[in-house]
Structures are given as structure tokens and as C-alpha cells.
Amino acid sequence: MIEADGLEKRYGEFIAVDNISFVVNEGEVFGFLGPNGAGKTTAMKMIQCVSPKNKGKLEVFGMDVSTDQRKIKRLLGVVPQESNLDPDFSVYQNLLVYSRYFDIPQKKAENIIDELLDFVMLKEKKDTLITLLSGGMRRRLLLARALVNNPRLLVLDEPTVGLDPQARHLIWEKIKKLQSLGNTIVLTTHYLEEAERLCDRLVIMDNGKILVEGKPSELIREYIGTEIVEADNNPAVLDCLNKTSSKFEVVGDTIQVYTDDPQAVMNALLKECDFGKVIVRRATLEDVFLKFTGRKLRD
């Protein structure tokens, strides 16, 4: 569906996307994760054919993004990071005007729009102006708009940013539903729980590079282990852990021990060390993410 090889994007001296390669297969949900400024949105914009690449290969549906923009864009649905719904129009008109850009005849468009408004549960808001919609409704409308042309590939740039849990779960449900209908979906997100739930495969990016690629569950198992034991950070515990062969990391005033066998780690700590409080929790994608991108704050 998408094939990138040695893809690069520069803004003057700054390299936004630095020699990345990835393949997105038909029918999967593929995630781009990374801190702010990692190059996720830039990568999305190149896939959408709105930002030209500087180097490397990028093909969508087997077509080159530099020469076949119009054909690619016809088969693409895009939910942008920032709402660009048309504030001059109502909900219904937004979709109708948008369908025109895809040469969809008005009669057919009207049927599609009715279905889509049902799908995103905005039927009652049909004649409401965009400015009067809540954040969640706008996102749902953006999703409906992206589906107007019955796309083969959906590009979602942070589809749930700034939404309350109810609205977020609804979007997740819709994404799952779309996948089950055979859509291929590429998304970026900051929410690792979201990525873990939705993505079949994902990449973690930082400073324009892909750091790691894989299935969420496999990444967790491979780089972290299934569980994490957290203990208070004190010299005795550190000393004790150094004697064992455990993988661990010091994070502020806690120590995180990565393991597949939390019971053994617990026993070892109980037996040999003078520890404060100990917590066992499931390892998450967030642990993988922080391991690869570090804990330094990004702007």
C-alpha cells in the first residue's frame, strides 16, 4: 500500500525526515509514534502528496508521490491534526462541498453523506455551523469528510488529540470498524495506549529517524519484558540489583526492573534487599517509547 525507501525531507539545513524506510500493507493499521518534532507529521504530508520529498523513494498504491499526486489523492482520505473544516458552512454543506472536489455527483453524494453522518453519529447536527460543534464532534466530522470519496487508505494525524475519554473511545471504535471493512489506516499519535490498542504495526521515530519497528506486543516483549517491578530508589536496592543480572533503569526516585518473571524479582528483592515499597505492573508501549526516545522534555 505504501512503500518508502531512504525517504528524506529537509527544510533548509534542518532534516525533518532522515532516510526512513517502511512498508504499510493492505488492511493494516500502521502507527507513527514519536515525540514532538520527530518527523511524523512531515512523513504524513509526504504520503498525502502535499509536501514534496527531497530524496528517496515513496510510493502509495504503487504510484510515485512526485508524479501521480492527483491519482493518489483521489484514493486517499485525510484527517488533519488541526481542524480545517469550513467554518462558512454547516455540517452537511461541509461534506457536500468536499464531495465536489472528488467529482462525486450531487445525488450520489447526498446518499453517501447521509450514511456517513449516521456512521459518525452527527445526523442531528446536520444543519449546525462548525463553530457550534464540540471538539469531539469536529473530529467525527473530519473523519466523515475523509470517507466521502470511499478511500482505500486513510491517513489520520493525531485523530484523538484533545478529546475526552468518551469521544476518544468512539473514534477508536470507528477506526476498528473501518479496518474490519477492509480499509488500510496510517495514523500518528502521542497516546501510547491508543497505539497499543489500534496498531497492528508501528514505528517509533525521533529526530527524523525510525528507531524501531514492529508489533506493539512484540516490541514490549522484546525490549522490556512482560512486567515491570518498580521499587524505591535507594542505594541498598541498587546495590542488590547490581548483584543480580536483572535489566533495570533508574527513573527519578524509582527503579524499574524489566522482567518476564516478576515473582522471581520480587522474591529476590524481598530476600536480599532492604526495600521500601514495590509495585508490579504490566509493561506497556509507553515503557518502550521512553526507553527509545529518552525522558528529556521536547519542545
Partner: protein
């Protein structure tokens, strides 16, 4: 990418025109008021105010002299502001262009559609203005009817010039500069309220060389007085070439700004 690449356009650009038309139709009553009121205000202020102390200008009554200038100004005003403040808001605040280029349309087509819509605003303005002047009996018919098709070309020129400013200003506030430094001088020095022949040579030549409104006024005045000006063909050629130049330039400037 150069500043004068010939843009690749398809009929899809009219979809952008239709989008703007649809918005216009939603607020059509509000849209008509300024088109109506502005020339009337000027007509009363200058025609009856100043006109009482000036009897004749270039051989015609003062009010007949300024009528074509007011029409020309209305044409300029409509498309220039549509493609400066109007386009800037759609581009920057509403992100309308971003939304459209995610569809099969290209940025060239979006800008071309905006320019054609700007020109259409000028045509609409001239259609609203002509009956007002006709009621006062200060423009001649049927020659004045030619103003309607001509206003599309003239409107396109000011739309394209405006779009160039939209592409280069750093913020919407900076659009006040072309208004003060370009529109206002043209309003005064393009043979609008007094004959160019009364001006010192350098202003006259300057107006003929670089102020587009001068040429628009020459043509419209020829039409409203049904007296062809000897410069009429030259003015038409000037407008035609300048329109072509700024049309292509504005599209390339916007492409450079938006496609990074």
C-alpha cells in the same frame, strides 16, 4: 521552481470558485450593501459637494467625469480585498486551502479559483453599480454595458496583484501596507478625481506606467462618456499583459509559500 512557471490547471479550479460562490450566496444581502452604498456616498460627497465648485473637467460635467472613476474603484476594491484579506483568512485562519489540496485539486488550481472568484466579485460589483449611475443619468448606454465584461479582466488584474501581496506578507496586519501605499495613491492619482493633464509630468507618466487603475479608468471613462480615448487600446493591452504576468506570478508565489 521559478516565479513564472506556467501553472498546470484543469477545470477543477471552478470547484474552488463554486465554494466561494456558495459562501457568498449564504450572506448575499449583507454582501450587497457595501457595493451599493460606497459609490452612492462618493457620488454625493464629490459629485454634489465638490461638483458645485468645479463645473467642467476635461470638457464634461464634474459628476460625469468622476462617475467612471467610482466604477473603476468599485471594481478594484472588490477583487483586491477579496484576494488579500479574504484569501488570507481562508488560507491562514480557516485552513481552507489545506483542506482542498488534500483532495485531487492542486494548489495552483486553488489559487486560480480564488483569482477567478475575485474577478467575479468585481463583475458583481459593476452589475450592482451600473443601475445606480444610470438612475442619475451620468453614464451613457449602451456603451457602458461593456463595463460588465471588462470588469472581469480588470478584476482579475487586481485579484492577482492582491494575491501576490497575500503570498508575501508575514501577517494579516501587514496587508494594511499595500492598502495605504498602493490602493490609496491609485485612488487619488489615476485620473480619478481630477484630470491627469493637471498633474506634473512625472506624476502623469508614473500613473500611466505603473498604476493599473489609470488604465482601467481610461477605458471605463471612454465607455461611460461613449468617447473613445486615444490611449484606450494601449490601456487595454497594458491591462491584458499585466493580468497575465500577475496571474502567473501570484500562483507561483503562493505555491512557494504553501508547498514546503
Amino acid at each position: 521552481m521559478s516565479y513564472f512557471d506556467v501553472p498546470k490547471l484543469t477545470g477543477s479550479l471552478w470547484k474552488v470558485w463554486f465554494r466561494n460562490k456558495d459562501v457568498f450566496m449564504k450572506t448575499i444581502i449583507v454582501n450587497f450593501i457595501p457595493s451599493f452604498a460606497q459609490p452612492l456616498l462618493y457620488l454625493f460627497a464629490f459629485g454634489f459637494g465638490v461638483g458645485n465648485s468645479i463645473n467642467v473637467m476635461e470638457g464634461v460635467s464634474y459628476i460625469r467625469f468622476i462617475a467612471p472613476a467610482l466604477i473603476a474603484f468599485g471594481i478594484m476594491d472588490a477583487s483586491f480585498f477579496e484576494c488579500t484579506f479574504g484569501s488570507y483568512v481562508r488560507m491562514y485562519y480557516q485552513k481552507t486551502f489545506d483542506a482542498i489540496i488534500a483532495t485531487p485539486l492542486s494548489i495552483e488550481e486553488v489559487i486560480a479559483g480564488e483569482l477567478l472568484w475575485g474577478a467575479t466579485k468585481s463583475v458583481i460589483n459593476s452589475i450592482i453599480m451600473l443601475p445606480i449611475f444610470a438612475i442619475f443619468g451620468i453614464i451613457d448606454f449602451p456603451s457602458s454595458l461593456l463595463i460588465i465584461p471588462f470588469s472581469f479582466l480588470a478584476g482579475l488584474l487586481f485579484a492577482a496583484i492582491g494575491m501576490c501581496f497575500t503570498a508575501i506578507v508575514p501577517s494579516i496586519d501587514s496587508l494594511n501596507y499595500p492598502t495605504f501605499l498602493f490602493i490609496t495613491p491609485m485612488f487619488l492619482f489615476s485620473g480619478t478625481f481630477f484630470s491627469l493633464s493637471l498633474m506634473p509630468d512625472f506624476i502623469r507618466y508614473f500613473a500611466l506606467a505603473v498604476l493599473p487603475l489609470t488604465h482601467v479608468v481610461i477605458i471605463i471613462r471612454s465607455l461611460t462618456l461613449s468617447q473613445p480615448n486615444p490611449l484606450m487600446l494601449f490601456s487595454f493591452a497594458w491591462i491584458f499583459l499585466a493580468t497575465l504576468l500577475f496571474f502567473v506570478l501570484s500562483i507561483n508565489l503562493m505555491k512557494k509559500k504553501l508547498i514546503v
